[in-house]
């Protein structure tokens, strides 16, 4: 789960990472009130989960209340790379002498946390990494030993940090690592880490991604989920315990198991079709899950035909068939369905479906045949 900048900063503050003070705002009035409280100059910052806000005009420095209101009005509702700004963060302006970059990433390939430090902060770090990789000092942390002071020093020296800042930057990295561990993050990134004229270190930005699987023991963080930035179908699916990802095409897909569903999308594409979604009904795939799945898939108006691809393991095909009959009774889909049932109790499942004689339901015995049929149906042809 990605956090907004200010949510990440509030997380940092809990772990004593120095951040500029600020107040979140959802309206122009709230923004002006916040600016008055913070004083001038202050910074009006768009809160969206995407980089490049500054370039898009989503970050402005206000010298007085009038300007704060003007900028808040302009930025609220702004579209930044497809993300609408619903919230602002009004922050005290910082004096900047130098800009660094610091990040900790959960590096799955190396099976450890990767700490990165660079003096080339404030710019696109991917560009720095491509053009001058030596400008980024990196180090993998032993997960059982934790981040050691000598490692922080080594990184700081290797990154070419000024001598008087070796210790403060080391402390900053240590606190960042503490945050990464304590909050069970997959990423904490600060770009830029600023050095003030008083030679103080501060986090001027934050990018934090938390592990969804660990939210059960971080209630405070779990509450930060923002349903408004989810697609309506994705939200509906989440509420019903289904894994759903919306895609651009017109063929609705349902299967059991992430790998099989991914494979189904590929096979449909190979037959010239374009999938409208990824939907994993999960291991059990009980009747109510099937009903929910049909409702979610068909609530996407672009869907012209649906492919059900089930290989029963734990999932029983007879339950899927009964679920589908129930789903048809409740959701009354108007688009054709191709159903492929294989695996546990497949013969019984197919018979149940045949006996029910549902309108617009075609059966297939293999994945390829099912894909071919559904692609034809989506084009308005009869398979």
């Amino acid at each position: 789960m990605d956090l907004l900048e200010y949510q990440g900063k509030q997380l940092f503050a809990r772990h004593e990472i120095p951040v500029p003070s600020g107040i979140p705002a959802r309206t122009v009035d709230e923004a002006v009130a916040a600016a008055e409280k913070i004083g001038y100059p202050c910074v009006v910052k768009a809160q969206v989960k995407i980089g490049g806000r500054g370039k898009a005009g989503g970050v402005k420095v206000a010298a007085n209340a009038e300007e704060a209101g003007e900028y808040a009005d302009a930025i609220l509702g702004m579209d930044i790379k497809g993300f609408t700004v619903h919230e602002l963060w009004i922050e005290e302006a910082s004096e900047i002498e130098a800009e660094y970059y610091a990040a900790i990433v959960f590096d799955r390939s190396a099976r450890s946390a990767l700490v990165m430090l660079s003096t080339q902060g404030g710019m696109d770090i991917e560009q720095v990494s491509e053009e001058t990789p030596e400008a980024i000092a990196t180090l993998h942390v032993d997960p059982l030993l934790g981040f050691q002071p000598f490692e922080a020093r080594r990184l700081a020296f290797e990154a070419g940090i000024d001598a008087d800042l070796i210790r403060p930057i080391g402390e900053f990295l240590t606190k960042l690592y503490d945050t990464f561990i304590a909050e069970e993050a997959m990423l904490v990134e600060v770009n830029p880490v600023i050095i003030t004229p008083e030679r103080k270190v501060r986090a001027l930005d934050s990018k934090v991604t938390l592990d969804e699987n660990a939210l059960f023991r971080h209630k405070e963080n779990a509450e930060l989920r923002d349903p408004s930035d989810e697609d309506p179908q994705e939200q509906m699916a989440r509420d019903r315990g289904l894994t759903y990802v919306k895609l651009d095409g017109d063929i609705g897909i349902l299967g059991n198991g992430a790998g099989l569903v991914m494979s189904t999308l590929d096979v449909v594409a190979q037959y010239g079709g374009s999938p409208a979604n990824f939907l994993d009904a999960g291991g059990g795939s009980k009747a109510d899950a099937i009903t929910s799945a049909v409702e979610v898939i068909c609530s996407n108006e672009k869907v012209k035909a649906v492919l059900f691809n089930i290989f029963g393991g734990i999932t029983r095909c007879d339950e899927v068939a009964n679920g589908l009959i129930e789903a048809f009774a409740q959701a009354k889909p108007t688009v054709p369905f191709v159903v492929r049932l294989d695996g546990t109790n497949d013969v019984v499942g197919r018979k149940i479906l045949a006996d029910a004689n549902l309108p617009g339901v075609y059966t297939a015995s293999t994945m390829n045949e099912a894909a071919e049929k559904v692609v034809a149906l989506a084009k308005g042809e009869t398979p």
Partner: protein
């Protein structure tokens, strides 16, 4: 032979008294797996259909001689259960549990790697089936028969799909190993490639990967250097858009690395044939082994 589970397996199940745990334990026993015990803290002294339950793995190992563990407990307790099994001297730990926090997985992975002789399969995996010998996990065994094709996969149902396509063409399996869909699997393709290479029953290896991470790329390098047996590959997720998680935590593509096309290319560059559909995988297998 077969790999990881077989006639030598003496299974102890953590979470045996839960509904899922008992259901699959009894299925495994009905298949012929030697289930010797279970562990549920506080329920020591009870039994599940005659299988004795112990409070700790240490007691289970000492009194029932367990050498393999299957972990079925919910995510908040799974890491602890895996570490307990390892500490008690269990050699093969198969973790079925889905949804274990990533930081827990990282600590467990690191600790297990430091314990020579201990192997973790999973978590978030369907288990391991050696047809005709033993089934540990939730793989529907009735679709598979004994044979010479070793299968390893990051996805459960996709494993069944590919296994079934092979079975319809008349092939059986030495072992089917579900590696799991999580970011930090205890065992990787490379580990199992080494096992299949050394297993005299296995004549062909099928490797089913998916988007995310670099396990397939690493495996491609390993195959070129160390594997003499033919390997057929499959990669799921060619149509997955970048930046989206497709159900498995492991199945996420960020940037250009980790895409299905890059993985298939890496394998093909090392001479591994990659089927574009599960059906094609079976067809390539026939070509290689002779139908």
């Amino acid at each position: 032979m077969s790999v990881l589970v077989g006639t030598e397996t003496r299974l102890c199940v953590s979470g045996i008294t839960g509904s899922e745990g008992s259901f699959h334990t009894l299925n495994n026993r009905a298949y012929g797996t030697n289930v010797v015990s279970g562990v549920t803290p506080g329920k020591g002294g009870q039994d599940v259909e005659g299988i004795p339950v112990f409070n700790t793995f240490h007691a289970a190992v000492e009194e029932s001689g367990a050498n393999t563990a299957m972990v079925f407990v919910p995510p908040p307790f799974a890491a602890d259960s895996i570490l307990e099994a390892a500490d008690a001297g269990i050699e093969t730990i198969i973790a079925i549990t889905e949804g274990i926090p990533a930081h827990d997985e990282l600590r467990v992975y690191t600790q297990i790697k430091r314990m020579p002789g201990v192997r973790l399969i999973g978590p978030n995996c369907p288990g391991v089936l050696s047809p005709g010998k033993a089934n540990v996990g939730i793989i529907p065994a009735s679709f598979f028969k004994e044979g010479n094709v070793g299968v390893m996969s990051r996805s459960g149902t996709l494993t069944y799909q590919i296994g079934n396509e092979l079975a319809q063409k008349g092939f059986g399996n030495s072992s089917i190993v579900g590696l799991g869909g999580d970011p930090i699997p205890g065992t990787s393709f490379v580990d199992v490639l080494e096992m299949f290479e050394n297993d005299d029953q296995t004549e062909l290896i099928v490797m089913s990967g998916e988007i995310g991470g670099d396990a397939e790329e690493v495996a491609a390098e390993y195959i070129a250097e160390h594997v003499t047996k033919p390997v057929v590959g499959y990669i799921a997720g060619f149509t997955a858009p970048p930046g989206k998680t497709m159900g498995h935590a492991g199945a996420i593509v960020s940037g250009s690395k980790g895409t299905a096309a890059a993985k298939a290319e890496a394998l093909e560059a090392k001479g591994v044939r990659v089927g574009r559909t599960p059906t094609q995988v079976a067809e390539i297998a026939i070509e290689i082994l002779g139908g």
